[in-house]
Symmetry: C2
Subunit: 121 residues, 2 copies
């Protein structure tokens, strides 16, 4: 398999980054990679939580993250290792990734939305 395409950091665009992270599954996968430093694609299946993602979709999610410049993928033997490009992206767009990951984290821990299923106890 020929080497996967990774954009140079100066070709990483804000729209691609925002588009990639505007999908909660992809944001969760990316947050996981950031936390762990590195993650194998198949182990990310469980990482997204409740929702089971078919591997074709997962492959596509990794591709979108990779082509947005958010992760670097390396084949190691039989499996793919995915590393976050946090430092590079953060140097290019200071504070962007942290703010996004934070926004998702605070949203997940939020119980005050009006669409809640049951009223407060």
């Amino acid at each position: 398999m020929r080497p996967l395409f990774h954009p140079a950091i100066e070709d990483v665009s804000p729209e691609a980054v925002l588009h990639a992270l505007s999908d909660p599954s992809r944001a969760a996968i990316f947050a996981n990679i950031m936390r762990a430093g590195c993650v194998e694609a198949c182990s990310a299946l469980s990482a997204v939580g409740d929702r089971v993602i078919p591997k074709s979709s997962l492959s596509n999610h990794f591709k979108v993250l990779r082509e947005a410049g958010l992760i670097r993928s390396e084949r190691h033997g039989i499996e793919m290792r995915n590393y976050s490009r946090w430092a590079e992206v953060n140097a290019r767009f200071p504070g962007l990734l942290a703010a996004i990951i934070n926004a998702y984290a605070s949203d997940a821990g939020d119980t005050s939305r009006s669409s809640r299923t049951s009223p407060p106890g």
Copy 2:
């Protein structure tokens, strides 16, 4: 026309915000509203710059921004005024909007991408 739908701030989700701003036209419109404090929809036609946007698309862009919780639209006589909900959104997702607007601004002023048309002088 009945009042337009605006989500409560606690119902504003990171994915909707990122999706709304992952379109460069919408990001430009929003950046404009932030700068000016308030903008009329039709005057935003020129605001996006080079590209002329048909009014049906423009109307849709404003709708996406409004339903993502980024702007508040009010009808004043014949025209619509659009205000940024920056303070509210910033309280909910600290630093997010500033980082995004900054990212687009630094990207626009960037001359180092490899897809440039001419080499450095």
